[in-house]
Symmetry: C3
Subunit: 164 residues, 3 copies
């Protein structure tokens, strides 16, 4: 892994740890995250500080990966997928003052190996998605997903399970 910073018209890449053979497309905003060997990052993707992407992952266009999200190896993340790291997001405190990092508790999420996350899925925070799980397109995932399970819907429910 090497540290990459690049500010070109189509890419904002700032202090990103990048492995071998990583491919990054146009119109991306990546900062302070890590992307391991062989992974691909699509167009219109933002990945925040502290997020980590494992080896051989595919992060598709229009997806947002926030601080506190750890994605293991061989994960497919569809288009337009969003992660969350704050249970009660607010712009301001009750006195109307702008919130700062001190007013906010980050809640982490773990995505296991070889998970497949369908397009337009939304993954709430504080969750573990088990190895080999499949999340249907358009799902809103509000609970942990066991390894090998298939979930879909809003809120997402388990459609099938298999040993993994």
């Amino acid at each position: 892994m090497k540290l990459l910073t690049k500010d070109s018209p189509k890419q904002s890449i700032n202090n990103v740890m990048v492995g071998e053979g990583v491919k990054i497309y146009d119109f991306v905003n990546l900062y302070g995250c890590s992307i391991d060997d062989g992974s691909k990052i699509g167009t219109f993707v933002e990945i925040q500080r502290g997020a980590s992407i494992g080896k051989n992952c595919k992060i598709s266009s229009h997806t947002f990966i926030c601080e506190g999200v750890k994605i293991l190896d061989g994960v497919f993340v569809g288009h337009n997928v969003s992660f969350i790291n704050d249970k009660y997001p607010k712009a301001v405190n009750s006195d109307g003052s702008m919130q700062t990092d001190a007013d906010w508790e980050m809640v982490e999420t773990l995505i296991g190996n070889q998970v497949s996350i369908g397009t337009s899925a939304t993954i709430l925070c504080g969750l573990t998605i088990g190895d080999g799980a499949t999340i249907g397109a358009g799902s809103v995932v509000t609970k942990d997903v066991p390894p090998g399970a298939v979930v879909a819907g809003n809120p997402a429910k388990i459609l099938s399970s298999k040993a993994y």
Copy 2:
């Protein structure tokens, strides 16, 4: 507030009224709107003509705010949130000719003070979201939301209410 126009490789900003301390990130398309003091506009955001953002709001990445949307002060808008201003959008008239502004009735939406709109929410048009309301991630909001209420789901339903 001052009028800002800026056409740089990473920002298309055209005739936007901007208050003190506004922060605008990369890859944005903003035109003819207003953004009041202290508000932040994330990456991959489009805000259309006539939309207004109050003071100390946070508009997160990948969000689309259309003409006819008025957002008051201290509002959190999550990532990948979309607003709507047309009940029956069409590309063409029944004779196949392209629609123009004359074929379209704009329907307005009001977002109250200190509302929190979760990531990936979709807000239909003609609605009022009351002060202090919370909209869960992934919700599709089809009705007015009372002040202080918490809603979630597709279509969004009230989960709890409190005086506000």
Copy 3:
């Protein structure tokens, strides 16, 4: 139709067949697709190789149109709409090796004339959306939609039908 390739700071357009009067906005990634006369392509849109857009269509901001999607004439595609072309997307094979085109079967989708697809809708693959159908905002469409029908929800259900 003429072949257009343009690599400017705000547009990545590569080998796109473009008709008369087509309008393409900023921050787009378009390659190997075709866009017929009079159609408009919004900001933050990606359209992949082999996708085709008919005449007088409106493709709104933040929308993703993948290979295998054929959109006929006069279609409205809202903001943040996503299409899909793979029933079981994976990043890697079961042995952990990265998938290639040989490991993947593309599943096509057809969008009929004068269809209206609401904002934030997700259209699964292998579907036919009949002429004049309306898909509500935030829908996740998992089945064919008959001509003239109105559908909404996750999964989308038929709300009304009319002869078309």
